[in-house]
């Protein structure tokens, strides 16, 4: 997870082209938002230098001059740091002290390194660079060595700060695997294991006014200490850790640089169905969703809720963005006994049928937070892509398929890095909540069509067939929201419709650039000489807003016209759950001819129907089989 930066979207195929075409800091920063490998980071770092050399303004990137002091070879991480910092909107200038010239940096006056003005100096010393000699079992010698090493690191930080006025990022020490005595090693004073533990604890007590400790020990532990240390590379080139971890190292340092500037994320926006709980509450109902202990999937989603709640206690504001009816979306928060997140934890609750980007903008505006403060978590890759395209400032982590890994991924991404913690922080979430009066929904202003185009959708229209019977029956009996009449049919009834000449049946499958959505819509029409009657029209809410319903109508119109019919009519039978399709026929150009509490009747004149241009390819299996 860490090595691959797996929360970031994959590198686009035309990456090198994008980089060479970039003419601004902004474009370059966008290139950096993917899961770049070290060579790719190097490429954008070089481009950054080229733009700078050409005198091009890098605005809005924030320039930072970073010095690096180390006992190891740091030339190879220079481009890593520059490239990674771009991801955080920072344009780094990196200057190395000469290799292993730490004493000179500390004691020479004037020293050419610290004479340069730095904003930040990274002190990257690893265990090879400490004056420690093991003395197993000799407590006095061990304590003395510990104090010497601590003094050494402190003196470097102090000298660097005093001479260059820079803030110091001081790396703590990655543990090394030298447990000669096994588990007992950590209790034995004077061993490496004992020493690194104690030293790191002492470093945590340092004066934080000019020093921030970089927790390299945690990074090494995350990727595995065995993997982190690479003795071959150390022996051959004095490289301080396995270079395959350069990308995460660069990200790790950049997070702190960014957090020091107050740029960490502040608001976590959560999708609901299949993110906060398993299943679709609108279709499965309050008692059908999977959440809570006793079920592996339910526990996995619960773990994400716990993480969200813990973040809230750190001052991260929580919000919800869901394609749902508001009251249905809220029902688990109100009435499900296993939920730990409750309505009062959520500052802004946006459950409606607008696209997610529009909702996120609304949330940002209600909270008066910038989009660059937002993290959006959604299990659905299409939604993630829509938000990334429309609102590139918002952090949208890639999620693995297994909900058990959602929480871990969110944490690994490091969106909420902080360099301090105050009492205000713990109250901040509640503060924002008070400010967010009512979730006023802002206009849908993002460019939906270019998003739909980019999905490269392909819809396949087929009559009911034996192969599809099971899924058709399932959709007919499970769909509650996008379902005009909510008529239920058994598998046997569906099977009969296959060959019934009195009915026109339709199953629709949809593919897009993310893969196959499978069968997502079912329509049943009763034939008539003049008028066809739509008996059933339902669709999965997963593909809402993709204009599939428009394509379906165009298809129906074609076939009705060629059979000699002149009109299509359809009913809307209201239920508690299908209000989203109340205006369905109206949106498609039907005219309402009667309406009462039980049903609305809508009709369209086929001779006047105007075919829309749709962002998808249509495969008609009726045509191909003829």
């Amino acid at each position: 997870m860490y090595e691959e930066l797996s929360w970031l979207p994959p590198v686009p195929a035309n990456f090198s082209e994008l980089v060479s075409r970039a003419t601004s800091g902004h474009e370059l920063a966008h290139c950096a938002t993917h899961a770049l490998g070290d060579n790719q980071l190097r490429r954008i770092a070089k481009k950054l230098d080229d733009l700078k050399a050409a005198g091009i303004s890098l605005s809005p990137l924030k320039p930072i001059r970073l010095g690096v002091v180390s006992n190891a070879t740091t030339q190879l991480i220079e481009s890593t740091l520059k490239g990674s910092a771009l991801r955080f909107g920072l344009a780094l200038d990196v200057v190395h002290a000469e290799f292993n010239q730490i004493a000179q940096v500390m004691f020479t006056e004037p020293d050419p390194f610290t004479q340069q003005k730095f904003d930040v100096v990274l002190v990257a010393i690893d265990h090879h660079g400490l004056p420690f000699v093991p003395s197993p079992g000799d407590v006095r010698a061990a304590e003395k060595k510990l104090q010497e090493c601590l003094h050494y690191l402190k003196a470097i930080a102090q000298a660097v700060h005093c001479k260059s006025k820079a803030h110091v990022l001081l790396q703590n020490i990655a543990p090394i695997n030298q447990s000669f005595a096994g588990s007992y090693e950590r209790r034995l004073p004077g061993t490496w294991i004992w020493f690194v533990n104690r030293l790191n604890q002492e470093l945590d007590l340092l004066d934080a006014s000019y020093t921030t400790v970089v927790d390299i020990a945690a990074l090494a532990a995350n990727v595995g200490i065995e993997n982190w240390h690479d003795p071959t590379l150390w022996h051959i080139a004095k490289l301080p850790f396995a270079q395959r971890f350069n990308p995460i190292y660069g990200d790790w340092i950049s997070r702190i640089l960014s957090a020091r500037l107050g740029r960490s994320r502040r608001c976590l926006i959560l999708d609901l169905d299949n993110t906060l709980w398993g299943g679709v509450v609108g279709d499965d109902g309050l008692d059908g969703i999977v959440i809570g202990n006793g079920n592996a999937t339910g526990e996995a989603h619960l773990a994400l809720q716990k993480t969200a709640l813990e973040l809230r206690e750190r001052g991260i504001v929580l919000a919800v963005s869901s394609k749902n009816e508001d009251s249905i979306a809220r029902s688990p928060f109100r009435g499900h006994p296993d939920m730990i997140l409750r309505e009062h934890h959520i500052a802004v609750f946006q459950a409606n049928w607008m696209d997610k980007a529009a909702n996120i903008k609304a949330i940002a505006s209600i909270l008066s937070l910038g989009l660059e403060s937002m993290v959006f978590v959604d299990d659905n890759p299409a939604e993630r892509m829509q938000v990334r395209q429309a609102l590139p400032e918002v952090a949208v982590p890639e999620l693995p398929n297994d909900p058990a890994l959602f929480s871990r991924t969110l944490i690994a991404a490091g969106y909420f890095e902080s360099v301090s913690f105050s009492e205000e922080d713990s109250k901040r979430a509640a503060f924002y909540q008070d400010n967010a009066k009512r979730a006023a929904i802002l206009s849908q202003s993002t460019d939906l069509n270019s998003y739909l185009e980019s999905l490269e959708m392909e819809a396949t229209f087929s009559p009911f067939d034996q192969m599809g019977v099971t899924r058709i029956t399932q959709l007919i009996n499970k769909s509650n929201q996008f379902n005009l009449t909510t008529k239920r049919y058994s598998e046997a009834e569906v099977r009969q419709l296959i060959d019934d000449p009195a009915y026109f049946t339709l199953q629709i499958r949809l593919k897009d650039s993310f893969g196959d959505n499978g069968m997502i819509s079912v329509i049943i029409c009763k034939l008539g000489d003049i008028t066809w009657e739509i008996d059933t029209w339902l669709m999965s809410c997963r593909v809402l807003g993709r204009r599939v319903e428009e394509a379906a109508l165009a298809y129906l119109v074609d076939h009705a016209l060629s059979s000699g019919a002149k009109k299509l009519k359809g009913y809307y039978l209201p239920t508690l759950r299908n209000t989203i399709v109340k205006e369905h026929y109206k949106k498609l150009g039907f005219v309402c001819v009667s309406a009462d509490a039980e049903s609305d009747l809508w009709v369209i004149d086929l001779t006047k129907y105007q075919r829309p241009v749709l962002p998808m390819k249509i495969n008609d299996s009726r045509k191909s089989s003829m």
Partner: protein, 82 residues
């Protein structure tokens, strides 16, 4: 299926392009560090790390120091994959 030296060199080419930031770089088994712009000792490390990652193998320190040309590199990779 067992690979041969030429196939390995073909697979090495995009790695070389990536490491030396030259999308038009061509390599043969006789290519040495002197033939490629920027192939210095640090770039050699980057190259080795990239190859290790792509082929999921590891070189020893001695092997890293001894690789004299692309052909030798490919032969070593082939041996390690076998």
């Amino acid at each position: 299926m067992p690979k041969n030296i030429d196939q390995i060199i073909k697979e090495l080419t995009p790695i070389f392009c990536d490491v030396f930031e030259d999308d038009n770089l061509t390599i043969t088994k006789d290519t040495t560090a002197e033939d490629v712009e920027g192939w210095d000792s640090l770039a050699h490390i980057r190259l080795v790390v990239s190859i290790e990652k792509a082929f999921r193998l590891r070189f020893t320190a001695a092997e890293i120091s001894d690789l004299e040309n692309v052909g030798a590199m490919a032969a070593l990779i082939l041996k390690k994959l076998a």
